[in-house]
Symmetry: C5
Subunit: 321 residues, 5 copies
């Protein structure tokens, strides 16, 4: 679906243009065209391919989707894939933003994502001195918008981790802790595969040999890279912590178990003693003088209570009870 199709000159929009005029505007050379599609149909992509003169392989990638984040040069034009990430009811939803860039055009194709980039265009149009840098700035603005939305996702995952941690040290044997840790790990793994190749790719857009289109906007892409670097560090930290937490949870379960076992052992011992005594005086020997004593029974009860009480105190001290 076509979202937007406009031509810009010196940082200002000169016109919303129809799709079939794109190639002529591109040919003018004194302006650039910025087109935004959403969940594009093959037919739409084909029109774009012809108007912009895009490379077949790049268009095919955009068509199939499910690409890894990447930055590819096709001669003097480029093809960039970034992934959008949203948390929808606790689940991670991954979309895709494919960007085709040439000397005087930018074409963005968004798929499987609720996020829109109208705000990016609006902000860009309010700052003509920046937009006048041309397509490279548009790409920066789009990537920056995508990457900025990673931060709340990371924060949500960190918050979840902290919540699990708090419960872990209170209720280690709670089945849900471990299941949530596992789910968290899976989310972080997904996120890692979204962020890490993008960071790697972004690292090629500044310093060293840079594609000519981005030569004058290196500081901006270094900024994007910095954000990705921080996000990547956070991801690594969460991953590492989750791994540790899983191990620690196992230890906590073992300790819980051990506490229960000790308590069981202690009470079992106390009652076994009582039962053994009762068993002995329950024997049917004829000659058991104490059975005939007047205070035999209370004495026996006192004796049993004393022994059991003594054990109880000892177990208490040993912290088994």
């Amino acid at each position: 679906m076509l979202i937007n199709c406009a031509a810009y000159q010196k940082g200002r929009k000169i016109a919303d243009i129809p799709v079939d005029k794109i190639s002529s505007y591109i040919a003018r050379g004194d302006c650039f065209v910025w087109v935004a599609l959403k969940d594009a149909e093959p037919a739409e992509l084909d029109v774009m391919r012809q108007e912009f003169g895009l490379h077949e392989l790049a268009v095919e990638d955009a068509h199939h989707g499910h690409q890894s984040p990447k930055v590819e040069e096709y001669g003097s034009s480029m093809f960039i894939v970034v992934k959008t990430v949203e948390l929808v009811e606790g689940a991670l939803q991954v979309g895709e933003l494919d960007i085709f860039i040439g000397e005087n055009y930018v074409l963005s194709v968004r798929s499987h994502s609720h996020q829109d980039f109208l705000g990016v265009r609006a902000r860009a149009e309010r700052e003509p001195h920046l937009l006048s840098h041309g397509p490279a700035f548009v790409v920066y603005a789009l990537m920056d918008a995508v990457v900025d939305r990673y931060f709340p996702v990371i924060e949500a995952l960190e918050a979840e981790l902290e919540e699990i941690e708090d419960r872990m040290f209170e209720q280690a044997s709670e089945r849900s802790n471990i299941e949530r840790l596992y789910q968290l790990k899976r989310k972080v793994t997904v996120l890692k595969h979204v962020v890490s190749p993008l960071m790697e790719s972004a690292g090629k857009l500044f310093g060293g040999r840079v594609p000519p289109l981005f030569e004058h906007s290196q500081n901006y892409f270094r900024d994007v890279y910095d954000h990705l670097y921080r996000i990547n560090n956070s991801i690594e930290a969460i991953r590492d912590t989750v791994n540790t937490a899983i191990q620690v949870n196992l230890s906590m379960v073992a300790i819980d178990e051990s506490v229960v076992n000790k308590r069981l052992a202690a009470w079992a011992a106390i009652f076994a003693v009582a039962t053994a005594f009762a068993g002995i005086w329950g024997m049917n020997f004829k000659a058991m003088p104490e059975l005939d004593w007047k205070y035999g029974y209370p004495t026996a009860l006192v004796l049993m209570t004393t022994v059991c009480g003594y054990l109880y105190i000892r177990f208490r001290k040993a912290r088994w009870l």
Copy 2:
């Protein structure tokens, strides 16, 4: 076994040719020869070695099979090994496709694989403008076909992982979960050794210093590389998740165990109390006044029931029962 042997000019097949004409067609210089063998006998390979002038070491590799995926230059010709992968009744079956490439020939030798590449040839012959790129395009088409068939394998493994996950959180102590995780890990390890060296090798076919034969098809091989990169990422994700799942399963077993232990402890305690009471009133002391009471027995039963009931409720609250 010879599958196919044909000469192509400007992207079109000019003739199916007999094996002993190969060298003369190659010598013409205005066409290229594309030969496909399957489970080749040493004698067949020897004929090919002479007709194409292949390097002894490469032929030996093709003869022995069980090579790692690789891309090797022998002077101006090249030798490429890729592995085919199929899931046959849940088991991973690994075959091999050895490709010899020269300026005007391609020889592919397939072993231990049910997959055929007739479709690749048919498609290539339908697109003369692509096939006219010569051997490099044929190699791309073959590699692309092999790599495309990795995706369903990956998806099958991911599906299996998800199935195990679902059961893991329900029936942690199921012996089969852990065995299936282990088998999954082994399959992924096999797959990794199929994909990862190929990715590394494919990375040398575009960007930087590229073998002359592939100089004009770099975009295509970058496409193959991208696919391998994604597959490799998926493999890494599965590996990592399986490792975590094995640990998590252990935790779940420990939690299950702990639940059973608590329940055992609770019931043992309840019955130990009842038995201890019964034991006491089963003693044979002469002077045990309560034994002579009219309602001694029901009182005792009520008392025992009350104490046991109290314990039951307490254990319930503590969630041991």
Copy 3:
């Protein structure tokens, strides 16, 4: 908040200057300006941006804070971020020091940190021969001060690790051990993300291609790098040891558990034997001759004691008791 704003010439302070004179002093070219801010307001940063002619993106970073440590070049000027670390009541508190450097100025902005750097300025002013090296030396002095304060933090963490270790081998099942190990791991992870990117960045300030501003102070930055390298090694060692300790703790819990289980098993066996004997002689068969023996009862007691004593000794030998 402005802490300090002074101009230096040949290593000596020539004047405390008002903020609005900064640009004119910078323009003189024969002196340099050293300004220190603390928890700067956006307005203050904006003034600085204008006076020093700072790059927008760097100022934005300083404004937002929460950057990763880094060293960035903006044309001939530079932007450096280092993190300060303090242990406040056992918790790790991370602050930030942003440094803007130009040919004849240094601007430092400190946030979220109780540490001040007045000592750095005082020491620098006492050593004009060093301060005469200009901004690069100031940056070195600041970084050195920050990094020096990492050492006591590392030592505190190492001390805590040793304390946990001592308790771990005595009281493995202590819940607090594992919780403390976990917290220690988290602190070390935080510290790692403070130190490791800084080390990486510092590594670019000496040897190989060095930013022109730092060309003559490479030995100093290598010294900072060395310190960071040692700290990083210590962090790695702690991380590794904590991981091992968590596993070892689990083993110790399992061993403790096993000791308790053996003891439980042993006592249970002993009392079960006694109870079984008592049960047998408690049966109501008419014809049980031993019940009528004169010394039946003491004989029975002796027999039971003997068997139980024998078991006790055997378990002792097997080290179950």
Copy 4:
């Protein structure tokens, strides 16, 4: 001990020569000398050092043995260390083959190894067209022979792993499984330190900057490298799998344990119920009407059996029994 000492010209042996003629044959320049020693004495090595003009440090290495595999250049001559590996009664036996190479000589010194290399010499002498390549080909033939013998070792380890796997899922608690896994891991670690540095070194003998002696035999050393690469991959796979197997075995033990525990719990519960009932009717209260019933006893037995039977069925259903 001297094994062989011969001079070769144009790929053919021209003479077995005495040790003291070596230097004069080397000086001729139109032939090369190939000497093989076994478990060389210091005195023998010293003679060789003088005849061949070897570097002191290389000779010292050969004398001490226990080197890591390596490829070292000493001016125009080279020193190569490879390790031989044999499985002797299940144990890994590591020997060493030190090779000194010059423009027209090869000296190999074998230690602690039952493998001999007479076959290599015989085969080389049968193929004069290859042997005429000179020392580089001899080195290739020796290395190839050593590396070829790694394959059966790897296969033996893989077979052992599979055997352990089979037993692991049947008899997890078998002490020997875990011990064998541990021993397997150790063997693999030894093998890794044999193969991995050699692979690294072999990687320097082709492609990029190659020692002049090997310039014309790069394809051969790439072949050796390929073999080592595959072996290394197999080693990594075994290592990884053993690690997983150790964890999986622990899980299997825990599951076994849990099965036993459940069964124990179930039977304990059933007997505790029976005992409690018996205890109650064993009490000595005067007024226990059911004791006087004619069918009291059989009723009691039926009741006890019914309750126990009910429990048995329930536990069966819950799969505790």
Copy 5:
């Protein structure tokens, strides 16, 4: 404390010289000065700094100690830090050897180490042809001496590991095994941080771009590097094995536990059966015909023994007992 201070010419000592003559001997240019200090006081270091013209930062490092191993260039002079390692009563004691090297001097400062290097000097003086290489050879001799003393430490750690292994498979639950493994891991971690940075640094003293002082002694430093490489491999192998051993030990504890649990379960079952029978015949029902049988009691005993014996045999077969 000054240990030695001498001047050498053409590999021979020409004089023991007083400290205040050092600078004049250095200035001569035809000889070199070799000074050795031990646990140097700040004042001594200051004298050396002036006599040799050392760089302030290097002297400060030597003064503070606790450096990581490193090789640093200060203009044409160099500063090298290596760590000495001794096993004193099973504990690892780490000392430091700081070496300052110039074109015609070597100054070594040893701290916290019982090892002396008089042997190095004596050996060097006995081999004038080597010593005539000048300071670089002295540095090699010192480093070689330090590194040679790592080997016995490694061997001691390997021996300890083997001892623990032997006990581990016999007495898994021995608390000391796991504690010793942990201590071993810590020692190896310390050793790693001693060896690994030194190896890295030594790697810069041969091949590629080498500091001019060492240009003619590259083969020697490659030899040191080789030793460090082997030691490093051994360290990695021990680390890896200790990690595995910790896991294996946990498995062994779990298996031991499981053996004990099975035995407990078996005996508990046997006695529970006996007790249940006894309980039944201990009930006070009037009408229990078997109680009045003449051989009721022995029959009962036989029955109980038979059932228990049957269980015993079954458990034996199932290998629970």
